[in-house]
């Protein structure tokens, strides 16, 4: 499996800077695997998180991102806590589904049409495994969020 690189950036102006970040990654030929804009604990500051599967060192790209006027901090992450949220609507429901949900710490909800919806926050690898195990219940719809990666394990940071 290819190594995932995560770059997180703090900004006061996510609208203004998003296009610049995408252009920067595009210019380097680094495909963005996921991108999110989210709130931080500090009012008015947003976190932009980009993950890529390019497997290349991203130090130079991170330093160029740091040059953008609206970016106040850039952090490269490796390992550590990375979570995604998976919402998956299934075609049938039985006790086995509840057992599976328990094993993964997932909740089973009910959609408006009565179908079961499994909701799980976990590591990307665990969610891949869960999806594989869900096959017998027939996935009808699937929505998976991008990685939420608090800077618990920074490999490098420029503020």
């Amino acid at each position: 499996m290819k190594q995932t690189n995560v770059v997180t950036m703090l900004t006061e102006n996510p609208n203004g800077v998003l296009g610049r970040i995408i252009a920067l990654f595009g210019r380097h030929g680094v495909a963005i695997d996921s991108l999110s804009v989210s709130a931080t604990a500090e009012q008015g500051i947003s976190r932009i998180t980009v993950t890529t599967l390019c497997g290349r060192p991203l130090t130079q790209l991170a330093l160029q991102a740091r040059r953008l006027v609206d970016i106040r901090q850039v952090t490269l992450l490796e390992g550590g806590a990375r979570r995604e949220v998976l919402e998956v609507k299934l075609c049938r429901c039985d006790d086995g589904l509840f057992d599976l949900a328990r094993r993964y710490g997932a909740a089973v909800l009910t959609a408006d049409d009565g179908c079961p919806v499994l909701e799980c926050a976990h590591t990307p690898a665990a969610l891949d495994a869960l999806l594989a195990e869900l096959e017998p219940w027939q996935v009808a719809e699937l929505s998976r969020t991008v990685v939420a990666a608090p800077a618990l394990h920074p490999a490098a940071s420029w503020g």
Partner: protein, 554 residues
């Protein structure tokens, strides 16, 4: 006090110390120009032939003085005409603030007449670009633009002003000019390591670039090489930081650099890089560049350190601050053996003969250098004449050789020369060196030189072909001259007359010297059209991706 957006624009420019801007009017900037008119000369404008010329003029103004150049263009095509000028300034880290008008806020995004999303178009070719959306934000946005343009690694900033903001009214409070952000102080430990690398070295070399000039660090560099006996090589952008005849100055390195300068890089055991970026015209093969050397890199832009060539010691920070701190740490050393090697390599450098029967580029440039005086400012376009100008002009001081190095913009020269002449005053001698190819891209700015009576001397290296590309075709494409032999019938003497200036044609060195002498006495712009051979080539040359063993000397 309550002012309109247009008045705030002028007041804020005046507050930031702007005396002159280059521009071209149009529908969305009518109010801005009207407010300039009303200001009765507090902020003057210079009208160019087009916005591209205005952007290059603002660039030439900035390069020749170090101050921020300002350009003002209307929306749509006016704004898109700035793009090449912005990219040129961006690649060479030139401080510029560009203002564009735009359609009114309510119409933005609805494809109004002359609407262009210039904030987005400018993103990759500026340090920053912004659309002002509230008149209350106008003054502070302009202030921030000037601060950003001059902070850290300098560069262009674009401020887009929708038309309805220019008539909207709000309270304005004057402030003092925006100070640039304080650069990080160079790390003492890194500097100590850098000094150790150089003090322990037997074959040290300084490799310096445009960052030295940008930081105003040329006097410190001169002290440094003199104190520690450090030979030095320079990039295209750094010509003049050391005097051309400084014995420690080995000249330009890279693709069209001297054999001795490139050999010095090859043999050095320590390389101090100051304000240069190991570009592909210098480190033609980055993996083998300075392969015997421990590399110390000083750069204000941390993302440049180790970008193309790995640095053993990195010193992020301002070049002037770093050199000042490094100076007392360096010990004078006896470099006799190293200097003897360097002198022996210099004896093998490419040499040209003097001829009196026909014109040769190197002779034209040497004649210009001896006649124009040491404080002359030279501006070039891009191509063979640019490389010859870098190689043969007698560069004596920083900010006296203005050239588009990074982007390599043909058509840069005349606008930049106009900007430099207006910035430095009529008493300074400005000489524009161009080729017939480049000049066809910007000779329309002759009308500006005439309107303002600027005594710019333009020397056209006229070989009737697109010489630099043709040279590559000669060397690497088996003489297949695709699209480089345009068979133009342009008579530059007549064109000059048509614009209302003087033009002369020369075919021998004697004729050239007489023409240039006459040009020096003129009060207005002059063109000197020099007939040179179409097979003149820029040598030496190391092909892209090549090494010293690939150097072409004949």
């Amino acid at each position: 006090m309550k002012l309109t957006g247009a008045q705030i624009f002028v007041e804020t420019l005046a507050e930031q110390g702007v005396e002159l801007l280059f521009g071209y009017p149009g529908g969305t900037v009518l109010n801005l120009f009207d407010a300039l008119y009303e200001s009765a000369g507090r902020v003057k404008w210079v009208l160019t032939a087009d916005e591209c010329g205005a952007a290059h003029a603002a660039d030439g103004y900035a390069r020749s003085t170090g101050r921020t150049g300002v350009v003002l263009a209307t929306s749509g095509p006016g704004a898109t005409n700035l793009v090449t000028g912005l990219a040129t300034a961006h690649m060479d880290s030139v401080p510029l603030v560009a203002f564009t008008g735009n359609v009114s806020i309510g119409v933005l995004g609805l494809d109004g007449f002359q609407e262009a999303y210039i904030e987005g178009i400018a993103m990759p070719v500026t340090k920053h670009s912004v659309t002002v959306r509230r008149v209350e934000d106008l003054a502070d946005t302009i202030r921030a633009a000037f601060r950003i343009a001059q902070s850290g690694r300098k560069g262009p900033v674009l401020v887009d002003i929708p038309k309805d903001l220019t008539t909207a009214v709000c309270e304005f409070t004057p402030r003092s000019p925006a100070a640039a952000d304080t650069p990080p102080k160079p790390d003492a430990e890194a500097l100590a390591q850098a000094a150790a690398v150089l003090n322990e070295s037997k074959r040290p070399l300084v490799y310096f670039g445009g960052g030295v000039i940008s930081a105003g660090a040329a006097p410190l560099l001169r002290q440094l090489v003199a104190k520690a006996n450090l030979p030095a090589v320079h990039t295209l952008m750094a010509a003049g930081a050391l005097r051309w005849d400084d014995p420690m100055n080995l000249g330009m390195l890279g693709m069209h650099g001297r054999y001795s300068a490139n050999r010095a890089v090859e043999e050095a055991d320590a390389l101090l890089c100051v304000g240069a970026r190991f570009s592909d015209r210098v480190a033609l093969r980055p993996e083998g560049f300075a392969r015997r050397a421990r590399v110390v890199q000083i750069d204000i832009d941390e993302s440049e350190i180790g970008k193309n060539v790995a640095a053993d010691v990195s010193v992020p920070g301002d070049a002037a601050a770093a050199l000042e701190a490094l100076l007392p740490l360096l010990r004078p050393a006896d470099r006799t053996a190293w200097m003897e090697d360097l002198r022996a390599w210099q004896a093998k450098d490419y040499r040209l003969r003097t001829e009196e029967t026909f014109l040769q580029p190197h002779q034209i440039l040497e004649d210009i250098s001896s006649m124009a005086g040491e404080d002359a400012v030279y501006v070039t376009d891009v191509g063979q004449h640019q490389m010859w100008s870098a190689q043969y002009l007698h560069h004596t001081a920083p900010r006296q050789f203005l050239t588009s190095g990074g982007l390599g913009t043909m058509g840069f020269g005349y606008g930049a020369a106009i900007g430099a002449q207006l910035a430095l005053g009529r008493q300074r001698r400005v000489v524009m060196l161009t080729g017939d190819g480049s000049f066809h891209m910007n000779l329309n700015e002759a009308c500006t030189a005439v309107s303002y009576g600027l005594p710019i001397i333009t020397v056209i290296f006229n070989n009737q072909v697109l010489g630099m590309v043709r040279q590559w075709q000669t060397l690497f494409y088996d003489h297949r001259y695709a699209a480089t032999d345009p068979c133009r019938a342009t008579d530059f003497v007549k064109v000059a007359e048509g614009f209302g200036l003087k033009g002369w044609r020369c075919e021998t060195p004697q004729q050239f010297r007489e023409a240039f002498q006459k040009a020096l006495q003129e009060d207005g712009p002059v063109w000197i059209d020099c007939a040179i051979g179409k097979d003149e080539v820029v040598l030496p040359m190391i092909p892209g991706g090549g090494g010293l063993e690939d150097i072409i000397m004949t």
